[in-house]
């Protein structure tokens, strides 16, 4: 399995996508962190809330991890490399597991890099304004959840890619699902007093886990994390079922 995970890393490193993805992730995080610190009111300086908002900027890495997760699978079908991948590793479940492990490692690294970038931007900037981040237990907890959430988003992307396989529909469909479909489903369920059910949808659950959505009546963070993990496992299993029965012609 180590060899397969290393091969996945090499696949990522040896195309130009890697540079683009890293720049996109770090760019988004940098803009978000700079925006948060730069637009903070004076009376917000030195508060725990500003620290939380600033650290949350690193969550943009999860969006990129989600997309990389999808691409890590769909690119195999788009360019026909899946044939050689299946020839070298005929037990297809191992390929999917290797991709899940690789994306989890990659996502964690991306989130940590994002957090370091946030600190690199926020600490000197706040110092210039005569303030500092409040690096307390809450901030550490948020940082930890940022890393875990990014790993889950990346793994969810692998599952989506394995189920859909076709690159454009997977990317467009997944983004529309998260941004639009879940909101619409929530609204429709709200009409029949079942709005809480929407909290169990993948995007809502992971957002509740990482703190992007804060709903007092919603899922607790722990439950949201478990629901998010269940989606990762469920989509991964569906993807494996599809891949294992598929003819590569």
């Amino acid at each position: 399995m180590t060899a397969l995970v290393a091969a996945e890393l090499l696949k990522f490193r040896t195309t130009r996508t890697a540079i683009g993805v890293l720049l996109a992730a770090l760019g988004l995080v940098a803009v978000a962190a700079a925006g948060t610190v730069g637009t903070a009111e004076d009376n917000a300086l030195g508060t725990s809330q500003l620290t939380q908002d600033t650290v949350s900027s690193a969550l943009f890495a999860s969006l990129v991890a989600f997309i990389v997760g999808i691409l890590s699978v769909t690119v195999e079908w788009r360019h026909g490399t899946v044939t050689r991948t299946f020839l070298v590793t005929p037990r297809r479940v191992r390929i999917l597991l290797a991709k899940e492990i690789w994306i989890a490692i990659f996502s964690a690294a991306l989130a940590l890099l994002g957090l370091l970038l946030v600190l690199a931007i926020a600490v000197p900037w706040l110092e210039l304004r005569g303030s500092s981040l409040v690096l307390d237990r809450d901030a550490a907890s948020l940082a930890g959840r940022t890393v875990l959430a990014t790993m889950l988003w990346g793994a969810l992307g692998v599952g989506v890619g394995a189920v859909v396989q076709s690159q454009t529909p997977a990317l467009v469909g997944a983004i529309l699902w998260i941004l639009l479909a879940e909101v619409l489903i929530g609204a429709l369920l709200g009409l029949v007093d079942l709005e809480g059910v929407a909290d169990y949808l993948p995007g809502r659950a992971l957002s509740a886990f990482d703190g992007t959505i804060e709903d007092e009546g919603g899922l607790t963070r722990a439950v949201a994390g478990v629901v998010g993990l269940a989606w990762v496992v469920g989509l991964g299993a569906l993807g494996w079922l599809r891949m294992s029965r598929q003819d590569v012609t």
Partner: protein, 299 residues
């Protein structure tokens, strides 16, 4: 050893492979032939675990492909589709495969040298010519120094030197005791490379034979060339021997060369050529896969 046992593959209402059985022995190069749509690629993909049989089974070295341990060291394959990422260099493509199979990078460089791609190793694969893509595919197939090679149209895009190089390579691999199964449309090339042929038509086996058996399929006939073909034909007919014109003043005669020589001599007819007729692979292939001949006869 490759074994295909009662393989049937159906795609919806299309029967691609129909109860196909054959075996390929180690130490031989076997040609896998059939017209377009005969089911060659589907059979090879079933053999390689890429296509799931509707019924029947395929094994390589005694096991289904998916159950082979260290598969890169057991089986190497080249399929018709190009399977490298266009944005990745040829060398990195091989490095990815080598890493997944636990093979050292030094083997990658060794193979790039063997397939004469060292100069283009760091170029992105999308810029490769058809011949270079074939060479890269061959390098990928040979990465694990496998015991069995399955090659689908490996000579596509290769220049004459490349085709000769491939032929020599396959012959030398077979001489080392490896099993080589290759499909190709270039029958003249196949005839020079293989020891045995498996011919399929409409998904069914129509003939498995050694090349010696293929050539002997016209045995018993003589080929004779003379400046007086009409007179010779008449003389042969008078002796109760049937003949037919095969062009260029030549006759195909349903008799041994000795008998033809005797008739010609007795009638004072000059002969320019008198040989035992040998069927070419192309003739045998075309006769077995003639679309007007209906279903071929299974062995």
């Amino acid at each position: 050893m490759i074994e295909v046992e009662s393989l049937t593959k159906r795609y919806g209402s299309t029967l691609a492979v129909d109860d196909l059985s054959f075996a390929v022995a180690p130490g031989t190069v076997t040609g896998f032939l059939g017209p377009n749509g005969a089911g060659k690629s589907t059979t090879l993909r079933a053999l390689l675990g890429l296509v799931h049989p509707t019924s029947g089974r395929t094994t390589v070295l005694g096991l289904p492909y998916a159950e082979l341990a260290g598969v890169a060291h057991r089986v190497g394959a080249v399929l018709e589709t190009f399977d490298a990422h266009p944005g990745r260099s040829g060398r990195n493509h091989l490095r990815v495969l080598a890493t997944a199979a636990g093979i050292a990078t030094s083997r990658v460089d060794e193979l790039l040298e063997l397939v004469e791609l060292t100069g283009a190793a760091r170029r992105r694969a999308k810029g490769y010519s058809l011949g270079m893509r074939q060479r890269l595919g061959l390098a990928a197939a040979l990465l694990g120094d496998p015991e069995v090679l399955v090659l689908d149209e490996p000579a596509n895009g290769l220049d004459p030197q490349g085709i000769r190089w491939l032929r020599d390579l396959l012959r030398s691999l077979a001489a080392e005791g490896r099993t080589v199964l290759l499909s190709s449309h270039v029958l003249a090339e196949i005839a020079q490379t293989v020891d045995e042929v498996v011919i399929i038509h409409r998904g069914r086996l129509v003939r498995q034979a050694t090349m010696a058996e293929v050539e002997a399929m016209a045995a018993g006939e003589a080929r004779v060339r003379t400046p007086e073909p009409a007179r010779l034909a008449e003389a042969l007919a008078c002796s109760g021997v049937l003949s037919h014109a095969i062009g260029d003043g030549a006759l195909g005669v349903a008799a041994a060369p000795e008998r033809v020589g005797e008739v010609a001599s007795a009638n004072g007819i000059v002969l320019h050529e008198l040989t035992t007729a040998r069927a070419t692979l192309e003739e045998v292939f075309l006769s077995l896969t003639d679309p007007d001949a209906g279903e071929g006869s299974s062995e």
